[in-house]
């Protein structure tokens, strides 16, 4: 037997089926490899992978291209001193500094020697040197620990706004400077900035 459903029942049926399908589809989960240089679609703000990568790449290339590093007494040495977080959100400082250090070494091409003065690493280096000198481990070459000609320091700042209708924005600025340790001259500076804005959806208010 065939029946013709009343309009209201058809509408109710359609709404019900559509909502059910949306719920099922909405709950689906999957994983896929994505490009770390593009937005991952996960949402949220802050310092994202593409920011860290782009910033580290830009800092390394600009510093090597623009900074007037004195090479008259040999390849200049640089020590990454610190990244000071003066923002209103925590960041993974170690990750940012390590990525900048890696890119400086990679793009340096012998024009710049980057020193690793991370407290833990320096401790290990000194222990290994002692072991070499005491003959506990092999290693013919003896080198002095290099002093630094320049230091790179960075500062992170944010301007955070919270407004009506659960709107919010965060303006991030990463500033970097290179200082000549002999003259205290600031020989290079650059900054990287980005801004996030959004609002809290009604389901979270």
């Amino acid at each position: 037997m065939q029946i013709s459903l009343p309009r209201a029942a058809r509408l109710a049926l359609t709404v019900s089926i559509t909502l059910s399908l949306l719920l099922v589809i909405g709950c689906a989960r999957s994983h896929q490899r994505v490009d770390p240089d593009v937005d991952d679609g996960v949402g949220g703000g802050g310092t994202e992978s593409q920011d860290v990568r782009a910033m580290a790449e830009m800092m390394a290339r600009d510093l090597l291209a623009e900074a007037p590093l004195d090479a008259s007494a040999g390849t200049p040495t640089l020590h990454i001193l610190a990244l000071d977080n003066s923002a209103s959100h925590p960041i993974d400082k170690k990750m940012v500094v390590e990525m900048i250090r890696t890119r400086l070494v990679r793009h340096g091409g012998g024009r710049l020697r980057v020193l690793n003065r991370d407290a833990a690493t320096l401790q290990e280096i000194q222990a290994e040197r002692r072991a070499k000198r005491e003959g506990a481990v092999e290693g013919a070459q003896k080198k002095a620990l290099l002093g630094s000609d320049y230091v790179l320091t960075g500062t992170v700042r944010t301007i955070s706004k919270r407004g009506r209708d659960s709107m919010s924005s965060d303006y991030w600025v990463y500033s970097f400077v290179v200082v000549d340790l002999e003259s205290s001259e600031q020989v290079w500076a650059n900054e990287y900035d980005f801004k996030w804005a959004g609002n809290k959806p009604a389901i979270y208010r």
């Binding site: 909502l19 992170v156 979270y204």
Partner: protein, 422 residues
């Protein structure tokens, strides 16, 4: 055209799908092992829930991080708090999640936490940044806590959670900015006075504010068992904040065997959970509960009107309103961070640089000490360097938990040095 059996099957299937998608209640993880001090058991439970999480990753990351911090595993705890904090800040929701949250259970949406939970996530991230030797990152976290506590639906409230400001003062001083530190102490005084005026427990002006300038060691204690959300016995759409009976009330601090003082309440977590900007929220109904009730009433009225007037339009509108009221599940979202303390307490001390034994025990209302909660640390306070802009400030954070002997016995802790390098 559909046959009657096809129509019936489709209707039945759609309702089953709807029920399956919207009525699976969230099940909390057992939290008693944590409060009993069986931290290895608690860790296993929270790790399992973290791996199988569905919409509650940040919640279990916070509970696991709390457990790991109590075990002294600073770096992993910081990472978990940090990652959970980023997720709690991510307001993006897929269309499916929005539909599920509207038509399904409240707890089908991704857990982001209430303002007090988000603020405490920032505070614990900051305390661990201190322990990692990063006072600047700690200050950033405490500033974030201020933003999160003030983040209310109508944006008219300022943060009244004094620990955010007070800790930011310590972090600012450790990072070398004394003027900013003093400004934060002023803000902490105001926030504390406001909170007490509206009903928070503890003194309106604890002595730590005056002791700040002359102190170099801050003992911060997360004391007691924090609030949890429960559904009203008769009205499942009503959220109530349940505050358990407390076993301990404050921490007593000894340095090198000498009693130096008892911690004072600086932040009342239960008060923060129950209020927004001083407005009491306990028993507030979820928006969907109101919608469901209004839609149900409106639908009935429209149907009756439609029948009286023989108006098909009114009948249709009434039917849709009734259907919507039936589909909307208005049970309250009871997910909450259940390893939070009842209060945040502090004691500021002036201690000579060098190595010291710090002994801490916890007292109950009756003044009795439960030795299972006592613990000692060896702390090394850095020298005060007048030439350095950075201040020799150290922060030690303890949680009131009965600890197993291996964690109670003279744990070696170097109080963090200021100016931690990357």
């Amino acid at each position: 055209m559909l046959t009657s059996s096809q129509s019936a099957r489709m209707l039945a299937t759609s309702f089953v799908l709807m029920l399956a998608a919207s009525c699976t209640a969230w099940v909390p993880a057992p939290v008693e092992p944590y409060w009993q001090g069986r931290l290895d058991v608690a860790e296993t439970i929270f790790r399992e829930r973290l791996e199988t999480s569905d919409g509650d990753w940040a919640l279990f990351a916070n509970e696991l991080a709390t457990t790991l911090e109590a075990r002294g595993e600073v770096d992993e705890a910081w990472r978990l708090f940090f990652d959970a904090g980023r997720l709690m800040e991510n307001w993006d929701a897929s269309f499916g999640d929005r539909v599920a949250a509207v038509a399904g259970r409240e707890d089908s949406r991704e857990y982001r936490g209430e303002p007090y939970e988000r603020a405490l996530n920032s505070i614990y991230t900051g305390l661990l940044s201190f322990a990692r030797g990063e006072p600047d990152n700690a200050r950033a976290s405490f500033r974030e806590a201020m933003l999160r506590d003030a983040e209310q639906s109508d944006e008219q409230f300022a943060s009244d959670f004094a620990p955010s400001f007070f800790l930011a003062a310590w972090a600012s001083r450790a990072a070398g900015d004394r003027n900013e530190a003093r400004a934060y102490i002023d803000e902490a005084r105001k926030a504390r006075a406001d909170a007490v005026r509206f009903g928070a427990r503890g003194a309106a002006s604890p002595s730590v504010f005056d002791a700040f300038e002359g102190s170099n060691l801050l003992v911060m204690a997360s004391v007691g068992r924090g609030p949890s959300k429960v559904a009203d016995r008769h009205r499942p759409d009503l959220v109530r904040i349940d505050v358990p009976r407390q076993h301990v009330r404050a921490a007593r601090v000894y340095v090198d065997g000498r009693y130096r003082g008892t911690t004072e309440v600086l932040g009342d977590v239960a008060y923060q959970a129950r209020t927004r900007g001083g407005r009491w929220l306990d028993g507030v109904r979820a928006g969907k509960a109101v919608f469901s009730e209004v839609a149900s009433t409106a639908g009935t009225v429209l149907l009756l009107e439609g029948l009286d007037r023989e108006d098909g339009g009114l009948l249709l509108a009434g039917g849709i309103a009734l259907l919507a009221s039936l589909l909307v599940n208005s049970d309250a979202d009871l997910r909450c961070w259940r390893t939070l303390p009842d209060t945040l307490q502090v004691l500021a001390l002036d201690v000579a640089p060098g190595e010291h034994e710090l002994f801490i025990d916890f007292v109950g209302d009756d003044g009795q000490v439960d030795r299972a909660y006592s613990r000692s640390y060896t702390i090394r306070l850095p020298p005060r360097d007048a030439a350095s802009a950075r201040d020799a400030t150290s922060v030690v954070h303890v949680r009131s938990l009965p600890l197993e002997a291996s964690l109670r016995a003279r744990t070696e802790v170097s109080a963090p040095r200021p100016g931690g390098q990357s």
